[in-house]
Symmetry: C2
């Protein structure tokens, strides 16, 4: 059952530790140190670090160790700009694809879950469903490379969310946007799907960047 290589184990363990904040942004870690912590030799740790580096989660700097990449407000602006364009394209493509209601079930469920979470004031559940909505949207856009790029960017957003989720205003407008996008896709209106999602992401971008700048998270 454990058909999982040490490299894979290292990748997911490191990801988990990064997202959990156990390896804080900006902190350095020697290969040997991480290898010991993960109970394996340096080789798979190095390979895992190389992969995470390609995704922008860590930087390997000779003799200084593996640094957990910090994400500044400026970084977040870059990331959201990319997300905005690529997800909007995915929304347009999804609309063009003439999906049936059944195909869009996951999208509908995610929206309903967000409503529910919001009513219960459960921000964590809301964030999880929001993630799910965006992931499904991109999947429906049917572009494997785009999905990969977006997922890398979304990982970065997830990291910042730990600090922003409870500072931001309640995401009320958000759900209305999602519903409009959903309906546009359902009736095959690519233009509206695209533009609505674009505006949605841009608004989120501006709000988050302002939030991060205000609270001086310039390099955490």
């Amino acid at each position: 059952m454990g058909a999982m290589s040490n490299v894979e184990r290292a990748v997911s363990a490191l990801r988990q530790m990064i997202f959990a904040g156990e390896l804080p942004p900006g902190s350095d870690h020697l290969e040997t140190e991480l290898a010991e912590k993960l109970g394996m030799s340096r080789t798979p740790v190095r390979e895992a670090a190389l992969m995470l580096q390609a995704q922008g989660l860590v930087e390997m700097r000779p003799r200084r160790g593996i640094r957990i990449t910090p994400v500044s407000a400026a970084d977040m602006a870059e990331i959201y700009d990319i997300l905005t364009e690529l997800e909007s394209l995915a929304a347009a493509r999804a609309a063009e694809a003439q999906y049936s209601k059944a195909d869009l079930a996951n999208l509908a469920t995610a929206i309903r879950d967000m409503d529910g979470a919001l009513a219960r004031d459960d921000l964590r559940a809301w964030a999880e469903a929001d993630d799910r909505f965006h992931r499904e949207l991109v999947r429906l856009g049917r572009n494997a490379r785009l999905s990969m790029v977006v997922s890398v960017m979304r990982d970065q957003v997830r990291r910042a969310r730990a600090t922003t989720l409870f500072m931001r205003p309640k995401p009320k407008q958000s759900n209305e946007d999602h519903r409009v996008v959903y309906q546009a896709i359902a009736r095959g209106d690519a233009q509206v799907a695209h533009d609505t999602h674009h505006a949605h992401r841009q608004a989120a971008r501006d709000m988050l960047v302002a939030l991060l700048e205000k609270h001086q998270f310039h390099g955490l």
Copy 2:
């Protein structure tokens, strides 16, 4: 002077061999084999392969060797869709940035070079200058992550160009588009810069995909 690690050497050597067609798309190569060819041990070759895998140039499949990723017409459609969106955003951002004429010198030079190459019927020189134009455009958009994603995608386009460059019609419309984009950026018109470039890339996409499909390059 040779402050270059074996991993770096391996990465650039492999890239070169891939772009030159010396390692043909779809071909498999054992780690040992490549290591011997490059005059180093498996370790740096493996690390180089991991990096190239992250960029989609190769795939590592256990026991089957390192495969040079083939690029099909469908892949090219995906790639161009991403390029279209991201480069257009860069064009818009460049326009918003209020660059001086001096800042746009590289752009202007690239356009002039393309004109010259086209007049001499030198398609290779044209392709080189075209690359330069697009690279500079993205740089002016000032989004480091976007630049990286675009450069990965452009690498894939470069690979296909070896087969398409001499089959496609002469890129005459292309230069007019570039000029319009340049002027829009110079006068700070983000909308025109964006939309013109978007249409430019989309046209290129449709032309190339049709070309590749027609000539049945479905997996070479």
